[in-house]
């Protein structure tokens, strides 16, 4: 993952205006697009943590707050920039700002692990990732990893224990939220590319 920025280019006409750089490293626009998604992720992360107490009481809470909404944004970000490292950068931005801000630094682990998994998929299946059938396996891993990290790492490190009969049904339930989130994210990413290029 290179953080080198694109050299300054002269854009003489609208036709030459390549916004999302096809180069393997991040262009200035890539960096700013990731930051923008990061801002949205921060807002959603803060909302998620504000409602975190409620999410502990209501069974549906974690799936909505920690999978659906963040999932849409992270997949939209990855599908817009389409470079390995995007999801990790996004996750780092969101977790380093939003999580300590709301007093939940342990969530940094969950965000970064999910970002790394999405980037792993991007590296492994390359451009096939940006299709319905490419993004569904990534969303599946994202959803399973998310719930396991939530129960065993984040809540586990917080001293909270949950029996297996809570964790096991949570996995398919989390996938019910993770897969649509990835598909919506992909759709938004495709539209965003059109918006940037147009």
């Amino acid at each position: 993952m290179s953080l080198r920025t694109d050299p300054i280019t002269t854009r003489s006409s609208q036709e030459n205006r390549i916004i999302i750089s096809p180069k393997p490293y991040f262009s200035t626009t890539d960096i700013i697009v990731i930051s923008m998604f990061g801002a949205l992720g921060i807002v959603i992360g803060i909302l998620g943590n504000v409602l975190h107490g409620v999410s502990g009481l209501l069974f549906i809470g974690p799936f909505l707050l920690h999978t659906l909404l963040p999932g849409i944004v992270v997949f939209a970000c990855a599908a817009t920039v389409r470079k390995a490292g995007t999801a990790t950068m996004y996750s780092l931005i969101v977790s380093l700002i939003a999580m300590p801000l709301m007093g939940a630094p342990l969530f940094i682990v969950m965000y970064v692990a999910q970002g790394l998994l999405i980037d792993g998929f991007t590296l492994a299946i390359k451009d096939r990732m940006w299709s319905r059938w490419g993004i569904i396996p990534a969303a599946t891993v994202y959803g399973i990893a998310g719930i396991l990290i939530l129960y065993y790492v984040v809540l586990g490190a917080s001293g909270l224990v949950f029996p297996e009969w809570v964790v096991i049904p949570s996995i398919p339930l989390n996938l019910v939220f993770a897969i649509p989130a990835a598909l919506v994210g992909l759709k938004i990413g495709q539209r965003a590319i059109t918006t940037l290029g147009g």
Partner: protein, 274 residues
């Protein structure tokens, strides 16, 4: 940190002041947050968790939290205590020793299917007490986070992270993301108002569903303009940069390091001692 407001309810935000904690280098407060997080994860004795909680209250008390922020902190305290007490009241099972005393059952072990699947779900006093104590673990991290956020403006936090040798591009991304937050919130309000006027969004979930796509696309459109502006200012062309905000360690930081060091070593030692 005034920009990190959602709706009209303030989230933890920077409160200007001239206390000893305000004057500390942001790196010291970041170090404090890191150490408290590690200690909160590894300490298991209830008395030490309580000690850690009270230790994290000290810088918060020195920083003279205004009443409206104190109310918000207490609101979070209540939420966390209720959440951990209720969830562990239902789910806690001791690894050793006798089974906890059941106060009431919500799923009896005799119940068909669910009873067999879960083994019965009951609310236990030991579980509730265990959850209540674990709440102090989360609150210690919350206190350290709030201390950092409420006593350090964003630009100084960024400067502190920069001095911790984070790559410049990543720092730029963090700064830009923080800068984008109020823009995103403003954009969301505009879209939500438009949807309300059209009678689309009486349901809050529907409101989020319909506003997500235009919100992202409008923001992405803005990104291309910002990228052009950044490139026209030679973004990324110079290896050596100068910064407007600088941070420096002072006597207060050194005193803080000693206090953090002594208290951490004591807590770890007591924790290991049993």
């Amino acid at each position: 940190m005034r920009l990190l407001r959602l709706g009209d309810d303030p989230i933890f935000q920077f409160v200007d002041g001239d206390t000893a904690v305000h004057r500390l280098d942001p790196r010291t407060k970041i170090l404090w947050l890191g150490i408290v997080t590690v200690l909160a994860v590894f300490i298991h004795r209830p008395d030490l968790l309580l000690t850690l909680f009270f230790l994290t209250l000290v810088p918060l008390a020195i920083s003279r939290v205004p009443m409206y922020q104190l109310r918000l902190i207490l609101f979070f305290y209540a939420f966390i205590f209720i959440g951990t007490t209720i969830s562990q009241g239902f789910f806690y099972q001791p690894l050793t020793g006798p089974p906890p005393d059941v106060l009431f059952w919500i799923i009896s072990p005799d119940m068909p299917f669910l009873g067999a699947f879960t083994g019965g779900v009951s609310f236990t006093l030991q579980g509730a007490l265990y959850g209540f104590i674990q709440g102090f673990r989360i609150l210690s991290m919350l206190n350290a986070s709030v201390t950092l956020v409420m006593t350090t403006p964003v630009n100084r936090i960024m400067a502190g992270l920069r001095e911790l040798r984070l790559p410049f591009t990543f720092m730029f991304m963090l700064t830009t993301a923080v800068r984008f937050v109020p823009t995103i919130i403003e954009e969301y309000r505009t879209i939500a108002n438009a949807l309300k006027v059209r009678g689309v969004a009486k349901n809050p979930l529907r409101l989020v569903q319909y506003s997500m796509s235009p919100l992202i696309l409008n923001s992405v459109r803005r990104c291309s303009q910002l990228a052009l502006a950044a490139e026209s200012r030679a973004f990324g062309s110079l290896a050596d940069r100068t910064y407007y905000t600088s941070v420096k360690f002072g006597t207060g930081d050194r005193v803080s390091w000693i206090c953090i060091g002594i208290s951490s070593v004591l807590l770890v030692w007591l924790s290991l001692a049993g």
